[in-house]
Amino acid sequence: MSTERTQSITKARAKSVQAKERIKDKFPAVLKWDDVLNYCFSAIERHKDVLFYYTQLVKKDSEVTYNEKDNTLVYKPPYPIRTPEQLIEFFQANTDVQSIEVAKLKKGWPDCDAEIDKLEKEHKITVMRNKKDGSPRVIFADDPTLHINLDEEFVNHWQSIQLPSKDDIIRFLIASRRTPAGQVAANTAVVKQKKQARKNRQSTKQTNKHMHGIFKDYSGIRPKGK
């Protein structure tokens, strides 16, 4: 690559940074391509190569959306979120767990602090805060239906309860007439087996098969042992 070309690229790069700043400042306004160009370049600066590189750099920039149809530019923030509703939707649309860096969120939504506090109180999001000033740093999804109001006294009691071994817990639960989690299946299985055993009980050979359906069937209430 020739030095001349390097210089053109360097210049174009500086201009594209300038353009990006302009687009960012004007966000959320949509800017015309020519307006941005006129803002960055004076008439004598418009060298053919520099313009070529500048066009490429601006159009390809990951932080800028170029609309080919009407030849306009608009800033593209890291997250397409500008309202609390959009934030909640963003969390719900993702099946993977998401963490959002507030610094990045602010690029597109500068005054989100108040809304974040509000959503946190509603238990729609949880917020990890900076130690120094308590400003939000990272936010995560939350769900208000998963919150219960338990008095602090009870919570402290709860924490102070020591858990015995796994088997002891199961024994304790059975003793206090509650179902340990794994036992549900076992109980139902036992019941089923017993029923099946009763059904197939035909010890003696039937000789009067031709009369089936004529007599009433009392086999279900037959006395035991016969």
């Binding site: 690559m1 020739s2 030095t3 001349e4 070309r5 390097t6 690229i9 360097t10 790069r13 500086a14 940074v17 190569d49 070529f52 590189y53 490429q56 750099l57 993977d96 767990v97 963490s99 959002i100 860096e101 949880t126 990890m128 900076n130 130690k131 120094k132 740093r137 990272v138 995560f140 999804a141 939350d142 769900d143 239906t145 998963l146 919150h147 219960i148 109001n149 338990l150 008095d151 009870f154 919570v155 009691h157 709860w158 924490q159 309860i161 858990l163 015995p164 796994k166 817990i169 199961i170 304790f172 639960l173 206090s176 509650r178 340990p180 989690a181 794994g182 549900v184 299946a185 139902t188």
Partner: protein, 489 residues
């Protein structure tokens, strides 16, 4: 419609975490474990934005969850790719049975505890005392001794006073109700869980069901994420051991019917026959007469090969034409390539910069903790000098010349490169303009040689850096000539 038991289990556990371990990070980690099934601490770090959390902190957050049985630990013997020694790695998962049982246990105990407090207050304790003669009475024995001012003392007639302790504990029975009200959601969920079957989700189950964590578009570090492989032999032994001690209910017997067996045997037989037939097939020259075949083969050859040379020639011509094309288009493409290369370099610099900023922020935030882990993070950073586009373009030349090469920085200044290998990185350009190592820097070096032969040869030999002064308006006039010179080196 009532939720399925498994959904109820998940809701219960998530509610429990939010109630008893209300740190945002803990809640997030637990939700992640529910989503992905099994996670190693190394998998959890990238779930957070870069440099917001250290592995050590994650372990500290998980310990209380572990103690509450909400989270369980399973180990696997694994080998890191490229290493020889195997390591026991700890993976976190959620054992539904253990977690639910622990919650049930604590609910029962909590209810008992609150009830006990009430009973103690209600029992045979002497709640009433006489301020004058200090006689003490329980509630039942004074119920009939009513004076206009209240209960009176049997001994001296003074109005009795209720003990402070008793007044305090009067509210205990309302507490039981409050507790039951507040635990209402828990009890509802537990009823649903008990109505159906919930899988235990022991470690092996959880491992089989786990969902991979999506690859994050991470910063430079993740490219070096080590891969871990399980040590299969040991695992098999473990499994065999487990199978030996497994209870009868878990043993499954697969029975294939006679018909299936027959079909399988028949299929095998058919397969064998086909293989034998293929092996015993008679050669072509045996089946067909060779007399007629020769002529046809020749004909085929003539038909097949004769037009080929022509086609080949044509192709070659086309190939030659392609790179020539028109000068303007080629120029355009070259410019595009240059730009792409530049953009790649820029992107790398940006990542580096971002990483450094985040690192700084993290350190600032965590400076009161003493973190040994941070050193690990530094090791991830790649000396960026290694991957410059320049090296990919002219690898052989680069090796010889890097020490003397002067870098052309975005603003047009020349800058000398450091010789201490590690510090040769993009880090020196803090500004938005990335350092750009132009391939033409090699010719620059050569030009020095012309101007000051002695010094520059010394440079090449000893690899000592000295200010290599190159004028900014470097003449691009003799590009081709310079390249020729290079091949000699």
């Amino acid at each position: 419609m009532p939720p399925a038991p498994i959904e109820a289990t998940k809701s219960l556990l998530r509610t429990a975490v939010r109630t008893f371990h209300p740190l945002p990070k803990t809640i997030f980690l637990f939700d992640a474990l529910l989503t992905y099934g099994v996670l190693h601490v190394d998998d959890m770090v990238p779930l957070f934005p870069p440099n917001t959390i250290q592995p050590k902190e994650i372990r500290a957050l998980l310990t209380p969850l572990k103690n509450s049985r909400l989270v369980s630990v399973g180990t696997r013997t694994e080998i890191r790719e490229g290493h020889t020694r195997s390591v026991q790695r700890e993976y976190y998962h959620i054992n539904y049975h253990e977690a639910v049982d622990a919650i049930k246990y604590r609910i029962v105990k909590l209810q008992d505890k609150v009830q006990d407090l009430y009973k103690q207050a209600e029992g045979q304790r002497k709640d009433w005392s006489c301020p004058r003669c200090h006689a003490e009475y329980d509630e039942l024995s004074i119920l009939d001794k009513i004076a206009p001012t209240g209960f009176y003392c049997e001994r001296c007639g003074m109005t009795l006073e209720q003990n402070e302790q008793a007044i305090l504990e009067r509210g205990e029975h309302t507490k039981i109700r409050a507790l039951n009200d507040q635990l209402g959601p828990f009890n509802k969920l537990l009823a649903v869980i008990d109505s159906g079957e919930v899988p235990e989700n022991a470690f092996d189950d959880a491992w089989a069901r786990k969902r991979p964590v999506p690859e994050q578009t991470q910063l430079l570090g993740s490219a070096h994420k080590p891969k871990w492989m399980e040590v299969s032999q040991q695992r098999n032994q473990e499994q065999r051991k487990q199978q030996a001690t497994v209870d009868a209910s878990a043993v499954g017997v697969s029975i294939s019917t006679e018909k299936e067996q027959e079909e399988r045997v028949a299929a095998e037989k058919r397969e064998k026959q086909r293989a034998a037939a293929a092996a015993n097939v008679l050669p072509d020259w045996y089946q067909n007469s060779t007399v007629g075949a020769v002529s046809s083969a020749v004909k085929k050859e003539e038909g097949g090969t004769s037009p080929n040379p022509l086609a080949m020639l044509k192709k070659e011509e086309e190939d030659e034409k392609k790179p020539v094309l028109s000068g303007a288009a080629a120029e355009q493409r070259n410019m595009q390539e240059d730009l792409d290369e530049y953009v790649r370099e820029m992107e790398r610099e940006r990542l580096e910069q971002e990483r450094r900023e985040a690192q700084a922020a993290a350190e600032e935030d965590e400076d009161d903790d003493d973190d040994d882990d941070e050193e690990d993070d530094f090791e991830d950073a790649v000396p960026s000098g290694v991957n410059t586009p320049m090296s990919s373009q002219q690898p052989s030349i680069k090796q010889e010349y890097t020490p003397t090469v002067s870098r052309l920085i975005g603003n047009g200044l020349k800058r000398e490169l450091d010789l201490d290998g590690d510090s040769v990185s993009g880090t020196d350009t803090g500004a938005n303009t990335p350092a750009y190592a132009a391939p033409s820097s090699a010719p620059d070096a050569k030009r020095i040689k012309l101007e000051n032969g002695i010094v520059s040869t010394k440079l090449a030999d000893d690899q000592v850096a000295s200010p290599a002064v190159v004028t900014n308006g470097a003449t691009p006039q003799a590009d081709s000539e310079e390249e020729d010179d290079f091949e000699d080196v």
